[in-house]
């Protein structure tokens, strides 16, 4: 129904009220308001709905909280209570009054805040939201980190600096959110939601610098707690100072005492990790070269074992086997350790000093038949038989042209 302004028109009262109501309801701004004020004229009729007035020093407005919403109140309303309300504004047609339709109430008085905190904590604790077995494991090396915090202020700068120092390779995705004020709870919820939708981070850090209980209040709200709990990506909470404990801390997968501490906890220092890896490499390299040394000594001893019928044959066989091991170790060292560690030189030098290959380098050769069996006697071959000669840098394909026996 569109009223005609061009002519004088007689309105029904209900028509006018209905028109105004539609006008107000179509305004999105009035559909989601945050209002700060004091409660007065509180009435609690048997219907279970709550009727009251919200006022500041100069003005007041009527408000109603329906039974269905009033059930979510953690602290009962009372006259004189300082509150923050989320509500929509509309018209009550029967009486022709505009009023607030209250969705939720956040007490602002310090005593009430503490009480709300305790009650919410108890409620979520009973639901099991703080249970240890709900905590998601954190990746040790998160290469993609989501950060839910305010874009302004020192907190984000400090954290980015620490991330850069400790793990320059890490990708940081900031999901900006107000972390203080009436819009903060929903902004934080949205920040976490967006990162989950994006799905391209291994970890979320929810951060805010220090502040009073009121300033940190967003982190004690139920919607923020539930969003952290339902995040598929693990969440580290980093709110305020060491002594500040929030509901968000309790429900997060890990609580960091401060935002900067969170940055340190979240990512390892790549230099420390390199050191650890190099230490492991030292141990592995040390062990391998020690063992190669032992085997080489054993091999040398075989030559002196006169009890054995043909120590030379045994020696040559082991020499061939050991050569292969040494060769492989040398290749591995070159391929995997190249340029990354001084240990490369340690290992290759050691291999060089020990290697049976050195024997070949001095001009000796190993003869093998087609089965790679080592030939140690002229009696083991016939004329025209093919065989292979292993030299320091490769193999020769050979043919026996004649056999001469030497009698010592």
């Amino acid at each position: 129904m569109e009223p005609r302004f061009n002519k004088v028109r007689c309105w029904q009262v209900s028509e006018l009220n209905n028109y105004l109501k539609e006008l107000l309801n179509s305004n999105p701004f009035l559909n989601n308001l945050w209002i700060k004020g004091e409660i007065s004229n509180l009435k609690k009729p048997g219907s279970g709905h709550l009727f009251f007035t919200v006022k500041d020093q100069g003005s007041s407005i009527k408000a109603v909280m329906f039974k269905s919403r009033a059930g979510s109140l953690l602290v009962p309303l009372k006259n004189g209570m300082e509150v923050l309300l989320r509500a929509s504004l509309s018209i009550y047609e029967r009486d022709g009054i505009y009023q607030l339709y209250v969705e939720e109430v956040q007490p602002l008085g310090i005593g009430d805040l503490h009480k709300t905190f305790e009650l919410l904590k108890e409620k979520l604790l009973k639901e099991g939201l703080f249970d240890t077995d709900r905590k998601k494991p954190l990746p040790k090396l998160p290469l993609r980190i989501g950060l839910v915090t305010s874009l302004t202020g020192a907190v984000i700068q400090d954290m980015l600096r620490i991330f850069r120092e400790r793990l320059p390779k890490a990708n940081i995705i900031v999901s900006p959110a107000a972390v203080q004020g009436p819009e903060a709870p929903e902004a934080i919820v949205k920040g976490i939601k967006l990162l989950n939708r994006h799905g391209q981070v291994d970890l979320i850090v929810l951060a805010r610098g220090g502040g009073s209980l009121e300033e940190l209040w967003a982190f004690n709200t139920e919607i923020v707690a539930r969003e952290i709990s339902s995040s598929k990506i693990p969440v580290i909470s980093a709110v305020g100072h060491e002594t500040d404990f929030t509901i968000a801390d309790l429900v997060a997968d890990l609580r960091a005492p401060t935002p900067t501490a969170a940055a340190v906890i979240a990512v390892p220092d790549y230099r420390e990790e390199f050191n650890k890896l190099n230490n492991l490499l030292d141990k592995a390299t040390g062990r391998l070269s020690t063992l190669m040394e032992v085997e080489w000594d054993k091999l040398k001893n075989i030559k002196d074992l006169t009890v054995l019928g043909k120590p030379e044959k045994l020696f040559a066989m082991h020499l061939s086997e050991l050569s292969q091991v040494f060769e492989k170790a040398e290749t591995l060292a070159k391929v995997y350790l190249e340029g990354k560690s001084n240990k490369l030189y340690f290992l290759t030098e050691k291999i060089d000093g020990l290697s049976p290959l050195k024997v070949l380098r001095r001009g000796y050769a190993i003869c093998q038949d087609h089965k790679k069996t080592i030939i140690t006697s002229v009696n083991e071959v016939e004329v025209n038989q093919a065989f292979e000669v292993r030299l320091k840098d490769g193999y020769l394909d050979c043919l026996v042209q004649g056999v001469k026996v030497v009698n010592d």
Binding site: P139, K140, L141, L143, G146, L151, L160, R164, L167, P168, K169, A170, N171, I172, I173, V174, S175, P176, K190, L194, L195, R197, H198, Y270, E273, F274, K276, L277, L280, L281, K283, A284, T285, R287, L288, L291, M292, E295, L322, V325, K328, A329, L332, A333, Y336, L337, K340
Partner: protein
């Protein structure tokens, strides 16, 4: 045969390296086995270093456009 290092998480690869090194240090392996374990360990060490090492990445902001699409914008 040595299986592919693949894209296993860092901590998993690190634990494997520790396990191989512990086995090596026990000293109960043959030379061949030692070499084999050594190879696995150094492969994983190289893999881990590759994960840690790399160019400095940029910082991006995640935003939602009016039609509900997600987009990334560079920050600073």
């Amino acid at each position: 045969m040595i299986e592919k290092v693949g894209d296993r998480p860092y901590e998993e690869a690190f634990k494997e390296i520790e396990a191989y090194v512990a086995l090596l240090e026990k000293g109960e392996l043959s030379l061949d086995e030692t070499l084999n374990h050594f190879e696995k360990a150094v492969r994983l060490i190289k893999y881990c270093k590759g994960l840690l090492d790399g160019a400095e990445k940029r910082v991006a902001i995640l935003l939602e456009t009016e039609d509900g699409e997600l987009k990334l914008e560079n920050l600073f």
